[in-house]
Symmetry: C2
Subunit: 200 residues, 2 copies
């Protein structure tokens, strides 16, 4: 965290900049996820070790402005997933359910080329391609993960209910049912060999 | 309304385009507000009559996608306020409170130069300038009106809780406490002569 953490008062109007060209706000520090934070999330563990052996690249970053956890407030910011692969699997975000499962999220892509991989607890899954200008509705109950399938930073503006919360644990223990790899130069959806139904 | 009204299923992921250059979605019809719909909202009634006598210009348009009125859903779209004036008062949206007063709204400006005029029932008011890349938080309890002070269409992307609702009536009967006019070529905030406390 940098010193760029203004204490917004969410009961008074405020504005800040997310530049349209790259989404990187000069007014607030981003949260950065390096590859080391994503151990076990990519399918190919040896490719992960190999990628880590030559450094610890930044996979994605996003902005958390610290909205109060209130159903009347909204959290918002930008998310930037960088281009790259671990083995043949594209760089992606961890992805998460909302803790209050029945809360939606809106994304608007401003740069790059990416996919949003979504699935709900019932096992329905969905993949939407995002390019600049595409807006996406992530409905209630859908976990969502950004995947960069292009060569530029995949950049989106997002908004969700401020009390929704992030449940990363379910994804970290179970994984996603599907994963997206590059095959013959194109994105291909595959079953995730690491995915497992919850043990009970 | 055109025939471009796809019946989104808000429980399944979907995407649509809001082009970054102008916000005008090719995938859905916009709602258009012509000057005739804004009788009495500008301070100068004779300037209003004069403007109407030469036509009925489009003042603003925005996208309503028909989100279900559910606290877990989100309404989103773009809003485009055109450049122009009635007398010396800039083109603006009607503005509204949310019916569920304690619900916020997020705006992100992608084009043009505008102001968001906000006030709450307690009489606190606030004005924020928006230019491309500026994101704005309209807190709970604040009525909000877009005002175009530039020469291009003032274009924003917005998101709010889908059950928030629009209370236009309070603004239509009471007006805003403040208005923004052009004085010596610059925007100037003034008391609204038409504003009145609610009669009880």
């Amino acid at each position: 965290m940098s010193d760029k953490q203004p204490g917004w008062n969410w009961n008074v109007p405020f504005s800040l900049t997310f530049p349209l060209e790259n989404g990187l706000s000069p007014d607030h520090a981003s949260t950065k996820r390096y590859l080391s934070a994503m151990q076990g999330m990519f399918a190919d563990d040896s490719a992960f070790e190999e990628a880590m052996s030559v450094g610890n690249p930044l996979v994605y970053e996003f902005f958390e402005l610290g909205a109060p956890s209130d159903a009347g407030d909204l959290a918002f910011g930008t998310s930037i997933t960088y281009p790259g692969k671990v083995g043949n699997e594209y760089y992606m975000t961890k992805g998460h359910f909302h803790t209050i499962l029945a809360t939606a999220e809106v994304y608007w892509c401003i740069r790059g080329q990416g996919l949003m991989l979504m699935e709900n607890p019932e096992g329905d899954w969905n993949l939407q391609e995002l390019t600049p200008g595409k807006a996406l509705y992530v409905p209630k109950r859908y976990a969502h993960r950004s995947i960069n399938i292009g060569t530029e930073p995949f950049t989106t503006f997002f908004v969700f209910r401020a009390d929704a919360g992030h449940d990363y644990g379910t994804i970290e223990t179970k994984g996603y049912r599907k994963l997206v790899v590059e095959l013959d130069g194109k994105p291909q959806v595959m079953d995730n060999p690491k995915w497992r139904e919850e043990e009970r």
